[in-house]
Symmetry: D4
Subunit: 247 residues, 8 copies
């Protein structure tokens, strides 16, 4: 019984107040339109769903892509393999695949991009993660500027882009190895910095844990950290912040 | 030689172009107004300096407090001991000390608080860190609502404050032990969540590392993490975000 | 507005169905008797609240003890210091303190103990944790048999108590150092074994992490693990299991 | 010499008391029917043996499956590969293989399923482990309800199944990434919760150690933890508990 | 009922064979003289019990020391504090305390020391652990030669004692910091080497874990490792080996 | 210049004492017959060289095998792949390969095996490592008894072999998962126990580190530990001990 | 606008002092010839760029090799695969590939090698890393002596090369497993030692972390450590030191 | 018998060549003047001995200080406590104690300081370690420039000292928290950088391990790392390098 119907029956006397009370109390979560609550969250968030492709079965992946494409007119998939891309393109020929970031996209939006997010990467090997972040934010309607290959061992590269950094609403700093980029950027700007450690490196990088610790211990203020290689998560969080800045 | 003077001398011919070029190249960082650049950052950030009291020598602490109090009319010190508080109050009698959060404050601001930050804590033992976050944000002019003792083992406590959570610009989630609070909140709201792991717990909590890992691996979107027990850092980052929301 | 009143108003037409629907949807968590839901959990669990004393402020501890003593006629406090015990006894003179397990108890129950839990400890140094487990279960009305100092380096001590072990509903195995006790017991009995690693040991015991890993990797079936030194948690879980066995 | 025969000979005087005493003391373990003791354990446990297929040589696997199938009329194999499934089916054509849970089953039981275990999974990627737990429990004669994809980042999904959760004898909570599901469920129910961390996730999930730590540090009462990805172990332990509840 | 009596009754017909069989099967471990088995182990091992003093309650410690002193004529206590030493000496005035190794000894043996164990320490800070090893072995009747302060950063110190090393039955190598001593000794001798990592050092020594890893990964053959700072364990194991060499 | 020649020249006056002194001081290590010292070690150790095959280049492996086979009449290779075995057998057709232990052997010895080593394994999956240990010891002329599949979750299996265990000179305990076997054996016997953790297991076994920690923290006396999966190292160390016992 | 031109315009009055000041202040990093600053660093360092081949795309790798070959007349690539080598050789036929060190070189220098670096390796399995170090230093014009297979388990091998070690300006010590080599060398020489842990080993070597910890905790003075398997980094640092020694 | 005497006797025929050969071979390490070899090392190193005071017994400390003071005319003690300082000053009144660096010095040298070492610290809390490094280098006769409080969160502070950095022979970079300073400096200079992680920080700094990992993973070339808080070790290594630069 839908909530509306239940209340309707209370109004008409078909259902006693005590009975209605019991029903509502016993199952407060499912009968009260929680799917809708969830829908509210979707609506409120304003962010279309993104597909994490890695490990998804073929049939499952196809079905999700087609459903979302139909519903939203566009879809973004992260961590897609070349095989998955080919599969999806057999159904959605307009889909495009970027083998570096492993992003698979279909559809366009007419909405102009807004806001100001800067995505920095320390080295070229960090670009796949940086692109995942950048394209996620763009998919969410955000305007993104890329500042790549500005690791701290060649500081002038970063400093030469200071103007760009200082005009952003939010900066995503992507770095592997020792992950010092986030601290340096944090000290140069006054906007929030989302730090993304990557698994780039070897030996004592411990699969990215070393860069993660560096960023968590940052001596700079205003740095929040997401999981290793989690470009998507950084793009999401930065988009939330950038959207706030725009209100 | 000041930059202005240098250029003046170039103009008048007192200094040859080549000499000026050499001077500028040789010392690009100190002579070109870097102090000002830094000053700009202070001015732009709008956030008065906060004093990390732990481990500071008495004379040093007193001098910093007095200088900042004189300059800004108010000071905030974090992680102050009762002894440090007594010491500062011998000079600045109006200073107040909160033994729970270990925050030592002096001075007031007439500026009305603005924006909307919610600080949640999982347990009562996490309140010291939560208060450090909350009072830091208030010191930076942000309006803060406290939602304490809403750990996930009693979900109704958290859910009963859903309205408050959903109306925030930014939420700080402070939790020790298993640190699950950030994920649950992240799934309930659409604003950024700053997660602060605490060292509360024992045994396999590894001094807070367990909660840190939980938060970094959060299955919810929109969660950025700061260091263990770093209430100040969370308050700073949340204030940056909240300020953006207000522009 | 209470749920009953809301529905009443719907019935009388004072409140439109749509308005009521909106109210219910907007705040499903707080107005629908969540406190009661929680209360239900308390009632259903049948377990009176236990006080974790460590780190509690004096006034807070006293107030909790007095409130629970008044409400339930008895209280159990874990990890109490001798000072806390003296403090509580100044108000509740009948309270008794056990300096080994750091348990502080007040009040008695007339209810006969029921069920069958066996608490084993590997060494004498593990007894504080074992007692925390045992006394917690007894506080929850469970009958507990203690089998202490039966570490695996002297197997005959354990084997001589095989009858006791094999007649239990649930066994709590408390061990530090290498923590092998749980695996050995798991192989000897067919009831659930709750394993409690302790921080007893030194060097590579890593504060109990070594025993924790041993227990988590147990080659025996039917072993569930709780946190290091978490006697209370083991007593709680064993009591839940033992109570089920009795239904 | 069998124990019975030995005693018979003592009775008839064929064997002196001292000689019998010596024999019994010298070899207490093998001559006293330990195989039987072990058999007792098998009989008492009531749980037929389950085959861990991973890494078993082909001949070995076939022989174990055939022996158990002949003896018990049915067999359950965990972590079987598709190749192993094909191999077994070449001999036991009625065997069925589930590529998701990697479970290989042969034979049926007429016994009605009894009891009440609920298996929850946080995400769809955790389903293989959850199914291993569920099918293990079913193989042991337990009635299992599946509640999948109820991770804490979308709390309404879990809360909508609250009735199911609260009516269980025992709940298995399977979760990777940050593993918060166990704590949330632990706070909602009064029965024991068996927590299974999974290796699902990436980066700082450390192959499941992060989820393991989360669960071990759970702020909820009544949570016992098994090894990472150990669905079988959880199914076993839950079956022991569920069986107790039924006595 | 003793085993002897049971068999006697079987012989006399007082006890039926089936009854006796049941009794023996039901309690195979306790009634069959397991205490004796244990006693056998004590007798066979030939090593008097050693007292681990740390953390023992005063009354308990005194009672153990007095009992063992009475029974064996001598006692060895490890990790005793100065307070514990004073306490024991108030009852056993002849007891001697060594504040460096924290060993507390009472009584003498007339037995000449036998065998050949060499105890090496890398630095002077490792001597407390080395002495615990050496005095344990001496208490067990072994002849011990000390070769201290022969760390690998001054190789000539070690090499100048090569003859001593090469004539031993067993060598104990005690080292903190990087713990390289065991590998170097292992390469110089052909007898077993017992490696004892110590917690000496700071920073990345991780409380001795670094030295433990070094020793476990030793590139030399014939090295077995015990726990960090476990001089007693090394002394015990070396004594077992040395005793074998003497048979 | 050889030492003999140098001294000869001193004797004849061709070389001044001071010059000779300088030469000896400057290069004390190379000219004094260190190769011989090393040779002494080979001769003294009595153990023929064993080949670690993993990762060796084909030509290198062949040459080592042929050289040792020619010199010693027999060779033992550990961790050989099937390909390496085929390669070696193309040159030494009598070589035999055991795919379980990955041991590749050529040649026989007429020497009777001596001494008494017992090799125990916890599970069947630990047998490869156990065999590496056993065959290494046999290659070194030691008599080895195998006691396999005696893990602590079925204690009667181990206890039924108690006589075998108690009559050994040295026991090698090989176990993965929680690695409790070494502690249990250590408590049952009075000879040295060499504990070998294996990487068998999954999840929180951390590639064998968990079993390693268990063994290092053993509550039993007389246990020395070698590296994870290091069957060869255990066989070597046990052979040294067994040989001592025989003198 | 170039700095020179800017100043020229100030001199001629084309640009006002205030305007120039503004330009210089606003963009101090890019307009002031930072590329040149960087160039200065290149020139000053005197070290030609080295290519890290692993993971580079084919087109990218080719282009870098060709550019550097053209510019410098020679190139050094580290961690090149056989495929990458073949690719590069299809364009630069004179390039040579060393499959052991995975170094790919093209071009020669006429400059005589200078200075004195000694590269030591503990085992033959460490040679790939040692060669990366040695060939990097040679590429930078340094004279290198190799002292391989001198691990501490056979000390005479190392000591026989003492003269070589003691005459170096800088020593690179490459070792896996327990990594003790650096400490031993550090105690024998008075020049700086660069320690390179390698991932050679298994089990508790933790992928090289164990050797890293050993070297960081070295009891010898004068030891600096680089990342696991980082032969290039050690070669670079040693070349810097060796070059200093030569001035 | 001294080496000289031995050779003398060979010359005079008192000792046969064969006898001398035997003596030299049998005891190559002790009889050949290894103390002298060691002395050579002392003489060659040119660095007077430094005293690590922490944990030294009073009598021991006094005796070492007095001996070295007498022998060398000056002494340097690191990690001295105020009590130790008072003790030493009771005997050597001219000794001076610095409570920040915990350095205790006695005596002066007339030798002018030479060379060029720069010691940088990230924060003021790192100064104790930085001073230990600086004063160690000065004690070894090196000229040291201090550049303190130049952490990467305020890059202009570091850049303003670029000239100083770029003119050094060797730089010591001391940093806690995230430890990024070493990478940034490594990218700005062409001389060797000795990185010293400190334990400054909290939470996920893991007692300095985080900074250590950062430095070991440095993306900059020319960085060698020493142990956490090991200012002395950095000072020693830098002095070795600086001395080489001066030859």
């Amino acid at each position: 019984m839908e909530l509306h119907e239940l209340l309707e029956r209370v109004r008409t006397g078909e259902l006693k107040v005590e009975e209605a009370e019991g029903l509502l109390r016993r199952a407060p979560f499912d009968d009260l339109g929680y799917a809708k609550l969830d829908l509210h969250r979707q609506i409120r968030s304003g962010f279309p769903e993104v597909v994490y492709c890695a490990g998804k079965a073929q049939a499952h992946l196809l079905s999700i892509f087609e459903t979302l494409y139909e519903k939203n007119g566009r879809v973004l998939g992260t961590r897609a393999s070349a095989e998955q891309a080919a599969l999806v393109r057999s159904r959605i020929p307009s889909a495009r695949y970027d083998p570096i970031s492993c992003i698979l996209k279909a559809g366009e939006t007419q909405e102009p991009l807004r806001g100001s997010i800067v995505v920095c990467s320390a080295g070229t090997a960090d670009i796949p993660v940086a692109e995942e972040a950048a394209q996620t934010a763009e998919f969410f309607g955000r305007q993104v500027e890329r500042v790549y290959d500005v690791g701290v061992s060649g500081l002038h590269r970063l400093l030469s882009r200071l103007d760009t950094l200082q005009s952003a609403h939010c900066i995503i700093a992507v770095a592997g190895m020792e992950g010092a980029l986030a601290s340096v950027i944090g000290g140069l700007v006054s906007c929030p910095v989302i730090a993304v450690p990557t698994s780039v490196g070897y030996g004592a990088n411990l699969g990215g844990v070393s860069a993660l610790l560096t960023m968590i211990n940052s001596c700079a203020n205003g740095v929040g950290v997401v999981n290793i290689d989690n470009g998507y998560g950084a793009g999401y969080l930065a988009s939330q912040i950038d959207r706030l800045a725009e209100r």
